[in-house]
Point group: C2
């Protein structure tokens, strides 16, 4: 049996009318001969309401109890979804994460999936049933309920698709797919028809919403074809797939901007092996998420070391750096808290030259000053003044023709 | 460790303030040196809201999915309850029915408990934790979530108390305990300090709310001391316990009235073995709950057979009787749908004479006509016109001095 996993987010199941609309889409897919496994999130704002209920009782609730509480949102959605299908004449059965043995580690509020009992779902599909699985949740080895953290339902869907050998994993959302950049900043952005896992990983880690990075990572690891679509229309969305030769012709697939960034620079750190490791181990222990790191020697004995963080982590990072700075003989600490990072992403960069040049040229023409530059194999990022971030993004989008479909762009 | 099970109903956990109040009571009990297992119901009107959500999608929802849906209400309560205790500085852990292996049969919406993993709870109590268990729910052998039906949380509490060898099972509610009769009809009714399981079973099956009959049955079977108390004050409530010699001195413990009753009489049924069984098997298949049955021979060949039912079952019962009446050669069917049943209950009846006489005398004096009479070892019930039901109850209450505490009543 050909199998499709269809994931509906909270806005797509927010009320009875929307659940019915989603159910109709499932039935359409069943009529095409597919076995359908639905993954549903909690209805609308329900998770937020439950969090508010919890905080009213306990400003610092135990994480195990939060997971026990929040997982009820998805459980309600899936049973209601099954009822909607039943009322339309289709046999459906809902499962919690625990019921399909979605076994995770025991890290409450951000657990990682270890295994899934795909057999139980296969048996139900073989009986002609539509299977509805609660997203976002699992159980640990001791049957405690765990949740997968932000974007958890996407991860559930992709992991299920992998475990079941599904032909495709459709992620329904309230936009038409993945855009070349944020249309709120660059209104001419266009929807991509296809993007590689690696590009999507870069885009997601650079703050492009829609798909969560862990779900994309799962998709890449198990080669699950992910189709991001709009639950409100029939449009084709964006396919996230393995890289193919066609993609290489496209130099830059998308561009992103991350605001609210800060940069911490440690000036004149002793240039001896292990000092960088010492600093970042210390930051990691303080649970600071560090983005790009830049290290440059300034003499035989001394180096400068900079890294980017979200401004929400700034205070914690400052304290962590203060604790460690003497140990590495840091002469001075510079902090900038008004930084944004503009990035371009594209697998074509591997085989094309001149991308950096073109990007810096566009920024120069727009009179945007570049604070620092970092690159990966398929990404170039520049740190700029936060005030100039939108101007910078627009200049980059125009330079790389991100207002045109990939096929229509100037070939190199 | 001495263990107490404390059950809080939906009104006792309806909002944050009430959860906190319940949590304080739990802490008071912990301070007295008890290991406390809390059983909580769904918050306030939540179950009703979830039922409305379900019916909006499916007028006839599959029972398995209803249980999957409704069980979330209790799951939310228990995690929130654990958070409240945590915020007050106490270590608490919540469990769903599934997590403590509350195994039931697979009869969705009215499952029966088969076994409980008391060990998991004992281990947590031994760690110094307060354990909060979701009432009303279990799982079947295939891990489907089941619910126990009306009064299910009481049943969970008493079953847990039995499984854990608890010293007492406290049922917190919004009244002070069990009253001699319904105070809305007989305002002078008094709270009983103690009642036997058997009396409580009779009272509960005669519609006296507060405790559900299955929970009382569990208590009797496993000899669990049940204490029905008001969550809003510190008053002693009513103890439901095994019968003791003291109780025998009390002839009538309580009185009840059941309105909305109907009586169906099958006149001139063939008086041969197996006919009654045939009729009641047929009614049972139609899911009609039959109360008192009266059979009287009217000749060697013929008998009359009457039974009482709730008026909500009347239509179904009529149809069932119509289907079977020719098979038993019934000559005529009489139906009265304006009946009420007034009953007195008391273990003392076993050893005292004259109770029926006194009851009929009181009714005669009040000029209430008696339609029919049924009795058990510890109960006398009379069917009367529904219009006269309240007058009848009052007359009986006065006759048996149910406005006085048991010790203060006239001794026989």
């Amino acid at each position: 049996m050909k199998i499709i996993v269809q994931k509906f987010g909270g806005t797509s199941v927010a009320n009875a009318a929307k659940i019915r609309r989603a159910a109709k889409r499932v039935i359409d897919t069943v009529k095409k001969g597919y076995g359908v496994v639905v993954v549903a999130s909690a209805r609308g704002k329900q998770t937020d309401e439950l969090i508010a209920d919890a905080l009213e009782l306990d400003p610092n609730p135990p994480k195990r109890e939060m997971d026990q509480l929040l997982s009820t949102g998805e459980q309600q959605s899936v049973s209601l979804f099954a009822m909607a299908l039943h009322a339309m004449g289709y046999d459906a059965i809902s499962f919690t994460g625990g019921q399909i043995r979605m076994i995770t580690d025991g890290v409450f509020t951000k657990a990682r999936i270890k295994s899934i009992d795909a057999e139980r779902i296969h048996r139900q599909l073989d009986l002609g049933r539509i299977v509805i699985v609660a997203g976002f949740q699992g159980i640990d080895e001791e049957e405690n309920i765990t949740t997968l953290g932000r974007g958890g339902s996407d991860t559930t869907a992709v992991a299920l698709a992998a475990a079941m050998g599904a032909n495709e994993c459709e992620i329904y959302t309230d936009v038409d797919g993945i855009y070349t950049t944020d249309p709120r900043i660059f209104p001419d952005a266009v929807k991509m028809s296809q993007i590689s896992y690696e590009e999507m990983l870069e885009m997601a880690s650079l703050g492009a919403g829609v798909m969560h990075i862990r779900a994309v990572g799962f998709g890449m690891r198990y080669n699950v074809k992910i189709h991001v679509r709009n639950s409100g229309n029939e449009n084709e969305g964006t396919l996230i797939t393995a890289e193919d030769s066609k993609m290489e012709g496209v130099v830059v697939s998308g561009a992103t901007v991350q605001k609210d960034m800060a940069k911490i620079s440690l000036i004149g750190v002793d240039n001896v092996p292990g000092n960088a490791a010492k600093i970042f181990a210390h930051l990691s222990k303080a649970k600071v998420v560090v983005n790009d790191i830049i290290q440059t020697e300034i003499s035989d004995e001394k180096a400068n070391l900079s890294f980017m963080i979200g401004t929400s982590d700034l205070q914690t990072a400052k304290e962590a750096v203060d604790q460690i700075k003497d140990e590495v003989n840091c002469q001075q600490v510079f902090i900038r808290d008004d930084i944004a990072e503009v990035s371009v992403v594209g697998v074509g960069m591997r085989t094309h030259y001149g991308v950096a040049e073109k990007m810096f040229g566009a920024l120069a023409e727009a009179r945007v000053n570049i604070d620092s530059i970092t690159t990966s194999e398929i990404r170039i990022s520049v740190a700029v003044d936060e005030d100039e971030a939108e101007k910078a993004l627009k200049a980059v989008c125009v330079a790389f023709e991100l207002d045109k479909q990939a096929e229509a762009r100037t070939k190199y």
